[in-house]
Symmetry: C2
């Protein structure tokens, strides 16, 4: 495996052997290592000194169920700190088949044009993308597929990334060539935009699967992992209901963000539930699907295709975080409306969590009324047009709160919280507060732990363990839902890595990778100017309680500061 370093100014590729310290890592861990080794922590995230890095995880390339994820990273224009955002789709798999362990985009171009970066065989090509001007993600992906054929993988940005908005992500086509697997969080689409790369085409036709040192051992571990994964009840739940299975659970805990995080309980939760969505989708004819895989080989298939009453696809997938942030959080109880909003932000190439949070703040500021889906769609259209208000919203919740003069802003390190209110699921609140990534449920969700989520005691320990696990999985390239399988058969991680690489790691490898990754990320952030003062839930959430449990965030600062007790 190699590092491919692409300079966007000189439009040149340099292929490099891996340093030893980079070889042991992949995905999120390798990103953190490269960022610490190479990127000036105080640089302008949208300037020439930032780098945009694509790194498949350590076990990517073999179509292990839910384990072909692509990590993308750089310095975040949203948080000002390190950022890793991972996604499914084809990008991770295809990069590994070209032998690329890390693709690093460097510098900034001198002229204003837009380019497609095409990787194939052993070379990189810059091709004009100026004819994509004004196209949304869906139309652009279609054009790219026409031009480059259906066999390639594509990672692209939309108008949001082109505009440099801090909520812009990078979209990857899935196994059905739909560009909906998004490296959503932290504004990495704007970083890609600052490099003036509209899309990356990965043509693996000249490549091959990564080597496996011990095929038999790999197969055995894979079978054991698959069996364990299939035996987990969550696999069935996610298959049937998708992530929307979370809605009622979260509402039951009083943690469903409602009307800009002013309540943890939404009267329309039932209509936003996975159960209700399944009923709708099964009843609707046409393209609707209740389960659907984002990556080849995935047995969970938590994704879905949300079709309208006319049978035509509105969006795919419709996920819980979007339902939470653009549904309950905006007082909207129509899944059809949420699906339409979701399509719009996807087409713009934006993070639906960040935009949903920004719209909630805008409603609190009186710019529109909670529940008015048409007005919400009109505001998303302002982003597309690029009006000042649109640019405010597209730059995320923190900027929106600042501009509109709203204090109730649910962010940590400038990044919007996901659909778990930290006052009612306090372990996840600890994760929001302390994760080097900013508020992010994927950095360590604790909702499934059998604890009293309202009790502040013990939540730091719970979050620590979840954060280490997730940093480990993100380094492997494993979806967090693969974790249900790995959790039941933990030895398989060790076995897969040893078989794949000929290593002799022991059963602690997930923990070791997780801790190393988090330490590297924290090191980068420290150099970028982050301190304990940044590891806090917004002050107002320690004061303003939410229904139904009258809960505030009351995990102590000393508990928060003890999360990274090894670092």
């Amino acid at each position: 495996m190699e590092v491919w370093r692409v300079n966007v100014r000189s439009q040149s590729l340099s292929r490099e052997e891996l340093f030893q310290s980079w070889e042991r890592l992949g995905g999120r861990g390798l990103l953190a290592r490269i960022m610490v080794d190479e990127v000036i922590p105080t640089c302008n995230p949208l300037g020439p000194n930032n780098k945009l890095i694509f790194s498949p995880g350590l076990i990517v390339g073999h179509m292990l169920s839910s384990c072909d994820r692509i990590s993308v990273g750089g310095k975040s224009p949203l948080t000002g700190g390190i950022k890793e955002s991972n996604a499914g789709g084809r990008t991770g798999l295809h990069l590994t088949h070209l032998g690329i362990k890390a693709l690093i985009l460097e510098d900034e171009p001198e002229n204003e044009g837009w380019r497609v970066l095409r990787l194939e065989g052993d070379s990189a090509h810059f091709e004009s993308a100026n004819d994509f001007d004004g196209l949304g993600v869906y139309a652009a992906a279609e054009m790219l597929l026409k031009r480059y054929g259906k066999k390639v993988a594509i990672a692209l940005i939309g108008p949001g990334g082109v505009m440099g908005l801090a909520s812009a992500g990078i979209q990857n086509i899935d196994k059905d060539r739909v560009p909906s697997r998004i490296n959503a969080r932290g504004g990495l689409g704007a970083v890609m935009g600052s490099k003036r790369i509209r899309a990356i085409i990965i043509d693996k036709s000249g490549g091959s699967k990564p080597d496996i040192v011990d095929h038999e051992a790999f197969k055995r571990a894979q079978a054991e992992f698959n069996q364990a994964l299939m035996a987990q009840p969550q696999t069935t739940v996610y298959h049937d209901y998708g992530t929307a299975g979370m809605t009622l659970m979260c509402n039951g805990f009083g943690a469903l963000p409602t009307r800009n995080f002013s309540s943890g309980e939404f009267e329309g939760a039932e209509k936003l539930s996975g159960e209700y969505m399944r009923e709708i989708l099964l009843n609707r004819a046409g393209e609707s699907r209740t389960s659907h895989a984002c990556m080849a080989g995935c047995t969970i298939q938590c994704s879905n295709i949300f079709g309208g009453e006319d049978g035509k696809r509105i969006v795919s997938p419709l996920e819980y975080e979007t339902i939470g942030l653009m549904g309950a959080n905006l007082g909207i109880e129509s899944l059809d409306t949420i699906a339409r909003m979701n399509w719009e932000v996807n087409d713009l190439g934006l993070d639906s969590i960040e935009v949903g949070a920004a719209l909630g703040i805008a409603a609190d500021a009186g710019l529109w009324s909670f529940g008015d889906g048409n007005k919400a769609l009109a505001l998303i259209d302002e982003i597309r047009i690029g009006t000042p208000l649109g640019r405010v919203l597209g730059n995320g919740a923190a900027v929106t709160g600042k501009v509109l003069g709203v204090s109730r802003v649910p962010v940590v390190k400038g990044q919007a919280m996901s659909a778990y209110d930290p006052r009612a699921i306090k372990g996840t609140g600890v994760t929001y507060a302390t994760s080097p990534q900013g508020a992010d449920h994927t950095a360590g969700l604790t909702i499934r732990a059998k604890v009293d989520h309202l009790n502040p005691k013990g939540q730091a320990d719970l979050s620590r363990s979840a954060q280490i696990n997730m940093a480990g999985y993100d380094t492997l390239g494993a979806c967090s839902f693969a974790g249900f399988g790995f959790g039941a058969a933990p030895g398989t991680i060790r076995d897969l890595l040893n078989a794949r690489y000929g290593w002799k790691v022991n059963g602690d490898v997930l923990q070791d990778l997780g801790r190393e990754t988090l330490s590297l990320e924290r090191l980068f952030n420290r150099k970028a100017g982050f301190t304990r003062a940044d590891d806090r839930i917004p002050e107002w959430m320690t004061r303003e309680s939410i229904a139904p449990h009258d809960a505030v965030f009351d995990v102590s600062d000393s508990d928060l500061d003890a999360v990274f007790d090894w670092d």
Copy 2:
């Protein structure tokens, strides 16, 4: 002297004796002490845990020339750090005559109405200010003077503070009852707005001058200071040309911010000069005045009244920083236009530096064309109306750059630079970078030092000395121009303090006060999350050079980190 603590929720006053550690300080130094002792550094600047503090300097109350300044402070909504902003006018003098060494506004009100806080004798009164809705600063001040009489001092906010904009200041009436002496920087007007206090009336009729322990010694020192001040050539220059005398000097150094800091040289500089302005004002009949005092007793009288061709006052005063940021920085070369823009931002109660910088960024973003004064006025009007774009601009340069996607943003710690480009006056650049206040020339201007301002060597030493001096003067309540007199007769500071308070301080007192103040400010900022990474000039200024000297900012990080070598 006492501390008056006003709780805006309970609308109650508590009068307290001074702690010993507070007694020795005043103005900026006392603010820093109170902030460190009482304010949670991570609090929301616009929430109940921030405090708004008014503190006259140590030698305020005696009408010493240029030494009756009022320091106002709190946690800044613009920088997120400690903020002190001082101004002339009557507020400082009147507070001392009521025996108030610090007025502290605490908490936040429960209901939405606006109040006037009236201080008189030994009591504080809350009176309705709801009839001020929609009024600008000038009309509001007129109404207040009608209601409370001409003998009071007034500190008030305008629509900007009411809207909670981070560029909002607090205005104080001057000796002619014009509300133009502004605690401009860092958004303290928004902090006052968050307390829902529209104006503070200080009625000193029941009060008296502060005690002086040794009248004879005080008089002697005062006479010596006055003599020294009058003998300084700068006193004459500032009397005749005002601060606008800086324009040609700065342009000559290649440091006049031009078209959003893209050049250090403005082809229209001549027309923005103090010399040209003097000629205009002498020629124009009517209200124009080339010199004018902001505080009773000031012998320098650097202020002016800028009248139009019809003889009517456009604005008073028109200062160099406004001319720089709203003139050259916007490509505008008409003093009449700049004066009109200045009146508008004054009437809104905003910092003309911050708004000027924001407008420069908006021009870079293509929202308007440099030089188009009518469009600039129209954009200021957007702030008044409160459109999203207006709120973006009114929240200052950093937010404007973020929202509009412009990288060329001249800020440090979120605060816009004043009218000295740090690439050409590098010592002032060191001050911008390292001052706990964010970019601010009043924290330590170095332009008058006889050094090569383009040479990065030695600038940290120069800035250190200037920053210590300025923190000292701000603690005394002395205008920086009083410093010309104190510089020539340094023993008078010691003599004035010892005579006034019966102390036995020595000749190092200015240095000691300055260092102590800076150390306290840095301590607060550290707890608020600031690190060395915040003590930097924006990265682009280290890369992008300006005409005519092709200068970049190249003072080393190690030099920057060595500024506070005692701390």
